[in-house]
Structures are given as C-alpha cells and as structure tokens.
C-alpha cells in the first residue's frame, strides 16, 4: 500500500484513486467492527494524539475507537484542562506534541487553516478533524462511504446540502468531494447562511427548500449553530424551521427513495423533523458506523505509509 500523503487536510488533495483506496480500505475494516473481539494488532505500538481544541464528542470518540480497534495508543488533549487554556500558542502546543514523537495527530480547531498550520510544523501525519469553516475531510469521506453502501456510485446523483453552509466545513468538504466524483450538488439556505460566491464551490444554489428538493437522491442536513441568531443572520429558530426544516411533507418533492443524512449532533425540529431523523430512509446511524471504519482506514493509511510490509 503506497499512500502518497503525509497529511489529510482536505479532500481537495485526493485523487479519484486515493478516494477509491480509502473507500476500499474502510470497507475491509468494517468487518472488524462486527466481530465479537473488535481489535486487530495492525497499529500496535503506534501512538495517536487526539488534539481537540474545540468541543467534540462524536468525532473524537469515533477516532478514539478507530485507533483502539487497530491497537494504537490514543491520547487526548482537549482545550479545557490543557495549557491551551493557559494561553499557550498553537505553535508551542504543536512543538510540544512533536517532541513527544507521536505517529499521528488528529486535530480539531476553531481556526480555518489550523490543521495546515500544524502539518507544516510536525513530521508525523496530521489528520484534519475539522478546522474552522474550512474543511472536514473525514466527515465527507464517511458520508461518501455511507452513500456507496446504498448506491454503486454517486456519479449522476443529485445531493442537496441544506442549512448553514456559510459556517460549515462539512458542507465545503462534501461539496468538493461529491462534485469531484460527478454528483450534482445543490446548496440551499437563506442568503445570510451562504458564503460569498457559493457557486464557486461547484454547486447550484437555492434559497427556497421545495425547489431545491425537486428530484434529489439524497439530502444532507447541516446543524444550525444557535449563535447564528445572535449574530443577526436569522430571525429565530421557529422562523428558520418554518422555512428550512426538512419534513416528510417537503421530502415528497425529492426522488422516491431519497436518503437523509446529518453529520450530527442534530437539533430535532430545527433542521430536521424528529420523525424523519428516525425514519427508514435516514442514514444518520449508518454514518456513525461508517465513521469508525473510514477513520480506521485513514489512520492505517497515514501511519503505515512508510512501514515495510504493513498489511491489513
């Protein structure tokens, strides 16, 4: 296995072949997660730092489980209770981590570009677990893995990303990855929640939800951060839900076997109706399962890229 990348900063760095490798590797790891003993020795003796400078439960847990199932040692560094809270700069934190010589650093940070900042300063692999509004490549890859479990390919499919695109790294990475693979991507949000020149992301832009849903094969709902209201970007949650909440009624505009995804954590009744989140066409829990497999694959590919004879 010759993985060409030291770091995973965003999906835009990946070739179609790279994406295929990640998908196939993840599929092969998924079987491990269904065994009674969910552990293989693949990354035994390797250490992974989980550096989460922004609150996260599911992504961090997902990486933690992924590392442990491959027998790596995982270490957590959170913002609270760490020297980051004592005013240490990111540069100093990174140099300190580097001195401990880990095999990979998984980073979540509120500043766009933070993962690239870290990657430039350490010799080990850096995996971006979300940087500001910029990118969340592992989420996009796990969403793709989830869709490919249902469909043979995403090429020619139409996927709607619905919600707060402006502040969403999930939207940016998914938009890039899906367009790269030949899917038609639509974005739908009020103008206040769209980035400048949203079309430049390679998508068709809608401001009303019904026309946006017309004939789509999948809908990805985005989490609405509650502070957007305080920033004056929308009137209130009720108004937002009235106009943009994904409901069964609205979903009738979509293709008959439409799939529904959400990166979580969900605000029931705000961006997605409660019954829809639990409905048969919801892939939300499949996404969580894919997440562990995809992250196992990414940790494996990045950590063993230079090891001789590394194998599954």
């Amino acid at each position: 296995m010759n993985w060409p990348h030291k770091d995973l900063l965003d999906v835009s760095q990946l070739s179609l072949e790279d994406v295929d490798v990640v998908m196939r590797t993840a599929a092969s790891f998924r079987e491990i997660n269904t065994r009674p003993v969910k552990k293989v020795p693949t990354l035994k003796g390797k250490s992974i730092v989980l550096f989460f400078a922004e609150p996260s439960t599911r992504t961090k847990t997902s990486f933690d489980i992924a590392g442990k199932r491959l027998s790596a040692d995982t270490f957590s560094l959170a913002k609270t209770g760490s020297s980051l809270q004592k005013g240490e700069t990111l540069k100093d934190t990174v140099l300190t981590l580097q001195a401990m010589n880990p095999d990979a650093i998984v980073i979540r940070h509120n500043a766009s570009g933070a993962a690239a900042f870290v990657a430039r300063r350490v010799s080990c692999a850096v995996i971006n677990a979300g940087d500001g509004w910029h990118a969340h490549p592992t989420q996009a890859l796990l969403d793709l893995r989830t869709l490919l479990d249902i469909w043979e390919t995403v090429e020619g499919k139409t996927v709607l990303i619905l919600g707060d695109v402006a502040h969403s790294r999930v939207a940016r990475s998914n938009c890039r990855l899906l367009s790269m693979l030949g899917a038609h991507v639509r974005l739908c949000a009020p103008r206040t929640l769209l980035p400048w020149d949203a079309e430049a992301l390679g998508a068709t832009v809608f401001h009303e939800v019904e026309p946006a849903l017309e004939g789509v094969d999948a809908v990805m709902c985005l989490r609405l951060q509650l502070e957007r209201q305080e920033a004056g970007l929308l009137p209130d949650l009720r108004e937002y839900a009235n106009r943009y909440c994904l409901t069964s009624e609205r979903l009738r505009y979509a293709a008959p076997d439409v799939k529904v995804l959400h990166p979580g954590p969900i605000n029931r009744g705000v961006e997605i109706a409660s019954d829809l989140a639990d409905a048969g066409n919801s892939l939300i829990l499949d996404q969580v399962a894919s997440g562990v497999a995809v992250r196992m694959a990414l940790l494996f590919l990045h950590i063993t890229r230079k090891d001789k004879g590394a194998s599954l």
């Binding site: 700069t89 990111l90 540069k91 940070h109 500043a111 766009s112 570009g113 933070a114 690239a116 900042f117 940087d131 500001g132 509004w133 910029h134 990118a135 790294r169 940016r172 980035p195 400048w196 020149d197 949203a198 430049a200 992301l201």
Partner: protein, 430 residues
C-alpha cells in the same frame, strides 16, 4: 554664492535630461548643476553618485512605530532606522500607541525619543488622536496636540462610528491640522483580514467586504463636501472607494487619499495557504481593485502612496490566520515595490517622486525638497538596477512581517540624507 559643503556628483534626476551634481550647504540645497560643475568647488566633500537616481527624501504619511507601549514590535529608534533605509526623511506615526497619543505629554515623549535616539535622523511627525483614547466619544485636545507637534489627527484603526461626533471632529480640526480617516464600517466584519470573495469562501475565512470601506468613504466625502473641510482617506484599497473619491473631487470637495504599495502589487490570491504575512487591514482585494487603484494613482484621484508600516513580532504572525495580527512591515520595501510598477511601465519615475515625496509633504505641510535653492537637503540615491533579497537580516525594522520575505526586489536605496547629513548608506566609501 555660499560655497558648498557637500557635492553629490554624477546623478540622474527624474524628469530632467542629463547628468547632474547636487550642491549642498548648511543642510540646504544650494543648486542642482550640470555634472562636473562641482569640480569648481574642490573644498566641498564629494559624494560619488555613480549615475544613480537622485530623488527627494520621501514622506510617509502613515506608519505605526509602536512606542510607547508595544516596543517588542518596534520602537521609535528602530522605526527611524527602517525609515532611513527605505529612503524616508519624514515619517508620520499614528496615535494607536499605549497610552494613546491623545495628549501633549505623549506627543512630547515621542518627539524626545526621536531626538534622543537620533538627533540628525529622519524627522518624526506624530499624528494625534482625533478622540480621547481613540474611543470615538470625546474630541481629543487637538489645539494642545498641534502645539506639541502633531501634524494631523486620526482615529486610525478605531474609526469613529458616530457620524455626529465625526462631523464635529472634522469641523473642530479644520483650523488646526488635516484629519486622516481609516474608512471601515465598524460593524461589518471588522478587521477579518480577508477580502469577502472567492478566496475567503474557499478558505473558510470570515470575509471583510469592500463595501465596508466604501460606505465609510461615502460618508466622509459627503461630509467634506457639505462642510467644506478637508479629510484625508487612509489606505484606500478598492475600486468602489476610488469611484466615490473621484466623484467627490470632481465636485470640488476637499478630499485627499492614499493607498499602499501592497494594494498596488498584490491581491487576495496571496492568502491561499493561509499566509498570515499577507493579512492586513483593509485586506488585499481583487485584481480589478488593484487595477483601479493604479489608474487612480496615475490620474491623481489617489494623491499619495503611504506604507501603513505595521510591524509585528514573529509570534504574532506565526499563528492560524484568524488569530494573526493585521499588518505589513512596509518602510523598507515601499520604494522598490513602486519601482516594480515603473519597470512595468505603469508609473513614471516622476509619478513616484510626486506620490511618495512632494504631494504627501504638501498635504501635511512638511519640509520638502524640490531641488530648488534653499530647500532642505533631504535626498536619496537610488540604484534602480540593484537586486536584493528581502530577509529578516537586512530589514532594520523590528517587524520582519512582510509577504515579500525571501523575494528578490530590483531597485535599492543606496544612501539617504536628511538636511545634508547621511543617515543611511550601503556605499562603504560614502
């Protein structure tokens, strides 16, 4: 005629045919004469000009020298050294120090520091605060500030949001000194350092739209027109502002404007890779804005080029983009930057002299050398063909924060003199 103490020989002068010698006595220009006429004064000290360009000393209407209060970024001594190396003989320093330069004691401290660190160095002209503490509420004691030595007033960095207060400040200042305004709507994406556009969308950075600047430019030019009092617009960065300024000038409003070398030479494409050295406020804009600014400078809609020299320590730039400080260390690369535009045929050498020396000195009433007898002997020798690489080691400023680091520039200040005294030279024989 007084006999010259100094003869600068064998120099070329923009806008004049031939080779010249400059004769200097008592810190003043005696005469600009045809080359070799200086040989008539064997007692004068000779400075070989080597066929370089003789330019008047430059005036920078916009620097941040950080003293008092932020001496780890820059202090007055290092700022003056950077000015001398960049060819500036007059520099104006902004009031956003700590404490703020909103009272005569701070102004006098700045001037004393300059005098103590380098009595014969480039001249320092403080800009006083427009409002107390730059808070935008109470007018600063502008009469006292002017008496202490301030040559202009500005809330630079903290633009006055309250239009009523700003109007009254303009009126009050009108009989004292020009007001310089940093035009930025303080509520619209204040100081994010990234132009709102394709680059910010792709990088996931909060965008600062050009209209946040232009809206304030519109307010200012309307006030200047209505009140018939002068206003100088700092670091104009976009086409929308240029169009408003052009219209106001056409109506005869007493408006002057500056831009900076980085807005003439760079665009927001420089941000890819989250390059914090290119983070500046206002942010680098698009290629269309760059072209509009250049055209406006040629046409005189933009009056002057200032550096907005904003030195920062390494650790203040070595951070993720959104945490990095805004600003570019600009004193030492400004002239070479503008000369790049001369080489491309976009500006003439005379344009550079007008926009970086004569016009800024005229707007703010500072000493100026037009090479007429009696003018202060503030001059530089500039080698337009000398290539040099911008590196931390060859910058005198404490602030090494420039996106030009590692790049090669062509055109270098070989010597700077203030009132006939050499304050900077790269020529060991001088």
């Amino acid at each position: 005629m007084t006999s010259p103490a100094l003869a600068v020989t064998n120099v070329r002068v923009p806008g004049r045919d031939g080779v010249f010698d400059l004769l200097v006595a008592d810190g003043r220009v005696l005469e600009l004469v045809a080359h070799d006429a200086a040989a008539r004064y064997p007692e004068a000290r000779t400075l070989a000009g080597r066929g370089w360009l003789l330019l008047p000393g430059l005036t920078d209407a916009h620097t941040h020298l950080r003293e008092p209060g932020q001496e780890w970024k820059e202090d007055i001594a290092s700022g003056l050294a950077a000015a001398a190396a960049g060819g500036f003989t007059n520099i104006m320093c902004m009031a956003n120090t700590s404490p703020v330069n909103d009272n005569a004691a701070v102004t006098r401290l700045m001037l004393r520091r300059a005098e103590a660190s380098w009595p014969a160095g480039p001249r320092l002209f403080p800009v006083g605060a427009l409002t107390v503490g730059l808070a935008g509420r109470v007018l600063a004691p502008m009469g006292e500030l002017r008496q202490a030595g301030c040559v202009a007033f500005s809330n630079d960095g903290e633009p006055v949001a309250d239009t009523e207060i700003f109007r009254r400040a303009l009126e009050y200042a009108a009989d004292l000194a020009p007001v310089i305004d940093h035009c930025e709507d303080p509520f619209m994406a204040k100081g994010s350092g990234a132009n709102e556009g394709t680059a910010s969308a792709r990088l996931g950075l909060r965008g600062q739209p050009d209209v946040a600047e232009a809206i304030q430019v519109a307010r200012d030019v309307l006030l200047a027109d209505y009140l018939r009092v002068p206003v100088h617009l700092a670091h104009v960065s976009c086409r929308r502002s240029v169009e408003l300024i052009a219209a106001a000038k056409k109506r005869g409003a007493p408006v002057t404007a500056e831009t900076c070398p980085h807005y003439l030479l760079m665009t927001d494409a420089a941000l890819f890779g989250y390059e914090t050295m290119a983070k500046v406020n206002p942010p680098l804009r698009t290629d269309d804005d760059r072209a509009a600014l250049l055209e406006a400078l040629r046409a005189g809609v933009i009056d002057i080029v200032a550096t907005d020299h904003a030195p920062h320590a390494d650790h203040e730039k070595e951070t993720p983009f959104e945490n990095a400080k805004n600003g570019i260390s600009g004193l030492e690369t400004a002239l070479a930057g503008l000369w790049e535009l001369v080489r491309r045929g976009k500006l003439t050498p005379e344009d550079v002299v007008e926009r970086m020396a004569w016009r800024p000195a005229a707007i703010f009433g500072l000493p100026v050398n037009r090479f007429a007898p009696g003018d202060p002997a503030d001059f530089i020798l500039f080698d337009p063909d000398e290539a040099w690489v911008v590196s931390p080691e060859n910058l005198r400023s404490k602030g090494k924060n420039t996106p030009l680091l590692g790049q090669s520039l062509t055109g270098r200040v070989m010597l700077t003199a203030v009132a006939g005294v050499i304050v900077h030279t790269l020529d060991p024989s001088a």
